[in-house]
């Protein structure tokens, strides 16, 4: 479905001094992997690991410095915007910030139907989508600020599903949510992926969350994939020291409670 090869992306930072070159930041340094149709592919890493850059490249919202991305056998990394039409309906994103990812001045119906353009039957589609993400039909006339964080993520999901994509990219889609709401949205994502037979790329800093929804995981650090494999294998038997550190550092309720019992 998606094939990434030797992907690199570097940015020039703004000048820190008048003389001398502008410092270069390597966000991605040679990343390669394949995602099969129907796979639930997790990408785990901390801030600065390059995972968000990777998501943007996969959605063709940014261009790599070198390397290639193919989508269903077609190179997409070097296509001009006007020839990316086929990808724009196939790949959709849900972002982290439940407020910042919805235009505060648009009504929910306009937000959800935005990727649909002037297609006929938009109204019905919006109603259908609201139902699919568990929002009432009268939500369509309201503005984003009238909803809670979890509901806003549902609106984002509805927008992403509108053009009937085959791939859903979730960039820290549940990280800003409270535990209870997080679980509901995770369950919803899992359900939607199942129902619409989506390929899921799920990016998170939280290995525990990735484990709940993904079958495969890539662990990233400083622009590189340090470990890649089936999620349970990586979780239960991490090979790379960084993966081990990540797992050990994650607060673990069961372990903490066990510790309390012993005292």
């Amino acid at each position: 479905m998606i094939s990434v090869s030797e992907l690199e992306r570097s940015y020039r930072r703004s000048r820190t001094s008048l003389t001398g070159p502008r410092p270069e930041v390597h966000a991605l340094r040679g990343v390669s992997f394949d995602i099969e149709r129907g796979q639930r592919f997790g990408i785990v890493g901390e801030s600065g690991s390059g995972k968000s850059t990777l998501v943007r490249l996969l959605a063709a919202l940014d261009r790599p410095t070198s390397g290639s991305i193919t989508f269903q056998g077609r190179r997409i990394d070097d296509l001009p915007e006007r020839r990316l039409g086929f990808l724009r309906s196939q790949v959709q994103i849900v972002f982290q910030d439940p407020m910042g990812s919805l235009d505060p001045r648009m009504r929910v119906r306009d937000i959800i139907s935005e990727p649909l353009g002037r297609r006929p039957g938009r109204r019905e589609r919006v109603r259908e989508l609201l139902d699919a993400v568990g929002l009432p039909a009268d939500a369509s006339e309201r503005y984003p600020h009238q909803f809670s964080g979890g509901q806003r993520q549902r609106i984002s999901l509805a927008r992403a599903l509108a053009p009937r994509p085959s791939v859903l990219l979730a960039d820290e889609a549940v990280s800003a949510l409270d535990v209870l709401v997080r679980k509901q949205i995770l369950d919803l994502i899992a359900e939607l992926v199942e129902r619409y037979e989506l390929t899921l790329v799920f990016v998170s800093h939280d290995l525990g969350v990735v484990r709940r929804v993904c079958d495969t995981v890539a662990v990233m650090r400083a622009g590189e994939i340090v470990e890649l494999g089936p999620v349970d294998e990586v979780y239960d038997d991490p090979k790379h020291p960084y993966t081990r550190e990540l797992i050990a550092a994650a607060p673990n309720l069961a372990a903490a409670l066990a510790g309390l019992e012993e005292e």
Binding site: E46, S47, G149, D178, V179, L180, V181, R182, K183, H205, D206, E245, L246, A248, A249, A250, P251, N252, L253, A254, A256, L257, G259, L260, E261, E263
Partner: protein, 253 residues
């Protein structure tokens, strides 16, 4: 004798109650966790204790620190307590620091401001404190500006400022939520050591049950402005009585 005793605390925005009938006590040196979802009123409760409620919100009830009643106390009286007897660490370390002042001076100022140390003593003590929160090369770090440090390092500086005057009570409001997991683990460790070395009591606010379980001996669960359950961390998280706590646990497992 409790250090902090909150009784029947209510906070309202006009006629809209945000926090209702919240009562708890913290003994000297005790570590208490306050957990709940966003909007449950846990941060407001902490702000009320610090006397830092946003304008338009009115507290009712009683917040006693030792013998002193804090609700209704004058701003002058409160500012003398703040940073000296009660210190606070917020979620966002960048906005808690002055971007145009070297961090060493900010730590030193916390001490000279409250007269705990003279100017020169404060400078040396600041470097020592920065080392105690395990910042690398404390002498060099003291000369750095906040933007030159990482998020975890900044939060340690904030912690150093908070601990500078050996406060009797340290309030931490989601101090590690903005940090990476590997960094979070280290900052939690430093907070733990800090309150132990300085003999401070801790009120730790978080939405993360695992974090509270590693940090606190007693826990209060808040939902919709009320404390729905409280007790030792082991009892509350091991065998929750309230349905809400049980749901939180289930979602966190």
């Amino acid at each position: 004798m409790s250090l902090l005793s909150v009784e029947g605390l209510g906070i309202a925005a006009g006629s809209l109650p945000l926090v209702e009938d919240v009562s708890f006590t913290i003994a000297p040196g005790e570590r208490v966790g306050l957990i709940g979802a966003s909007g449950s009123g846990k941060s407001l409760t902490a702000s009320a204790v610090m006397g830092l409620l946003p304008e338009g919100l009115t507290p009712a009830g009683s917040v006693r620190f030792g013998e002193r009643e804090l609700l209704g106390a004058s701003e002058r009286e409160l500012s003398r307590l703040r940073g000296k007897n009660i210190a606070m660490v917020f979620q966002e370390p960048m906005s808690a620091l002055n971007p145009s002042m070297r961090v060493g001076r900010q730590v030193a100022e916390a001490m000279s401001l409250h007269g705990t140390r003279d100017r020169r003593g404060a400078k040396a003590a600041a470097v020592e404190l920065l080392g105690r929160v395990r910042l690398p090369e404390p002498e060099r770090t003291a000369r750095a500006y906040p933007h030159q440090l990482s998020g975890g390092q900044r939060q340690r500086v904030v912690l150093a400022i908070a601990l500078a005057n050996d406060p009797a009570l340290l309030i931490c409001d989601e101090p590690t939520t903005a940090l990476d997991v590997t960094v979070q683990a280290r900052v939690l460790e430093v907070i733990n050591e800090g309150v132990r070395d300085h003999g401070s009591a801790l009120l730790f606010i978080t939405h993360d049950l695992a974090v509270v379980a590693t940090m606190c001996e007693r826990v209060l669960v808040m939902n919709e402005g009320r404390i729905v359950e409280s007790g030792s961390t082991r009892d509350v998280l091991g065998s929750p009585k309230h349905e809400y706590t049980a749901r939180l646990l289930e979602a966190s497992a």
